[in-house]
Amino acid sequence: MNLYDSLTAELTDTVWLDTALETVARQPAAVGRLFPAAGRRCGRWALAGLPGWTVDDAARVLLLTRLPVEALATELEPLYRYGDAAEKRAVLRALPLLPASEAFEPILLDALRTNDTRLVAAALGPAAASLPDAAWRQGVLKAVFMGLPLAAVADLDERADAELATMLGGLVEERHAAGRAVAEDATALLHRLQERVS
């Protein structure tokens, strides 16, 4: 099932959404007002059929996918720049569904600099494919620091390398020296990486 079907299957009224999707395709500048309104017009609950997604996430991502490609170049950055936390998260979730662009990397780096777990998690999802390795490793380590479940990290084992193992090993050592706990998923990742080497 595609994103539109997954979303509308759980909406009782799709008039606002359908009108908004048609509008942004014809008049891309309208997205500036429709994008923030998606939460209060469609809802914010967690979608039962799409684990990890909320109604407003899905509605906003759909709006971005309906923007003409040339409009994306001008609209995407300001939508993220002036977005509230929910809007920023939706931009991050939309990136893997949009034509690749040089604009993605600065957006992802901004999200990783925040201290908002929702944004850091979204930046380490499928969108993280646009991140350079050094920033991605720091992102994964930050996720461990913040107590984020590593299940949020896309392609974790495929992308994890010896450098990440060294960094994670250092963190685990510091935590042990301080008598502090380390999340199980982080120690499990470290063990998997160490086994690869041996």
Binding site: G32, R33, P36, A37, G39, R40, R44, Y82, D84, A85, A86, E87, K88, T114, N115, D116, T117, R118
Partner: protein
């Protein structure tokens, strides 16, 4: 006691304050955009501040189970600085955000022609974006400033029931009551208004259209003075229901006019606390 603080500047408060507020019963708040103590010199420092009001602060509040909303505006003091005037151009973007429940703080500081213009322009923005307005009254020349505020509100065409005029005292309350606007009171340790003086005002004017806030910021202030006012009300013979009306239902009613206030699940939690499961569908 469930508390909705309708005016508090959390940007200036510590995380310890959030913890104390949550323990005292504060479950929702509105943070109006205002002056930060240090004058700003560019639009960029306003947009970063607004971003924090719709991004970082709500996240910080949520760590303590507190629902955070805000109001956005160019404040009267900085409306006088030509370098900040361009802030008016970026307001429409922010006035569309889910967490923004009013245009504010607007109004007067020194009652200059610049303040007149910016006040009127932002009341028009409130009408255009279908939002209530949150109006600050000046600390100097307050009585005449309040009269002028009411006159500008009347001229703007906004429904006075969608406007709160804040920082009132014994001298200014009656004229705002007559205007049809909501009456805001900022309870401070020893300046604007105190819990005992607030109780006397409630005894005289009743509970209609009254909002009680701590307006806690970077100055000498106390985020728990809402709770202290509730306690003073009970000590003076007001009922639990009266306190709930002033400290919870009134701010929900006022800011609910934005249609963006989101306290539904908080109400739900309260219903189970009181042993009443009706809001949970009878389950």
């Amino acid at each position: 006691m469930r508390i909705f603080d309708p005016h508090i500047h959390m940007t200036s408060r510590t995380t310890d304050d959030y913890e104390r507020m949550a323990a005292a019963g504060v479950r929702a708040l509105v943070e109006p955009a205002f002056w930060l103590g240090q004058p700003r010199t560019s639009v960029g420092s306003f947009t970063d501040y607004f971003d924090s009001l719709v991004g970082w602060e709500p996240f910080r509040a949520s760590q303590f189970g507190i629902r955070h909303h805000c109001t956005i505006a160019l404040n009267p003091k900085e409306a006088n600085d030509p370098r900040c005037r361009e802030v008016l151009q970026v307001l429409p973007r922010y006035l569309e955000k889910d967490g923004v429940v009013a245009v504010g703080e607007i109004g007067y500081d020194s009652m200059t022609p610049e303040e007149d213009e910016v006040f009127a322009a932002q009341l028009a923005l409130a009408v255009e974006h279908d939002l209530p307005a949150m109006v600050h009254t000046p600390h100097r020349d307050k009585a005449r400033g309040t009269d002028r505020t009411i006159a500008v509100v009347r001229e703007s065409g906004i429904d006075p029931g969608r406007v709160v005029v804040d920082h009132l005292n014994e001298v200014t309350v009656a004229r705002v009551a007559e205007s049809g606007c909501w009456m805001g009171f900022s309870i401070y340790p020893d300046t604007k208004m105190t819990p005992s003086r607030m109780v006397a005002i409630l005894q005289e004017h009743g509970l209609d259209r009254v909002l009680v806030n701590s307006a806690a910021d970077w100055g000498r202030s106390d985020p728990l003075l809402t709770l202290r006012t509730g306690e003073a009300m009970l000590a003076a013979g007001f009922t639990d229901d009266d306190v709930d009306r002033v400290l919870w239902r009134n701010p929900v009613e006022f800011y609910g006019q934005s249609k963006r206030l989101d306290v539904s699940d908080l109400l739900d939690v309260d219903a189970t606390f009181e042993g009443n499961s009706i809001l949970r569908g009878g389950s």
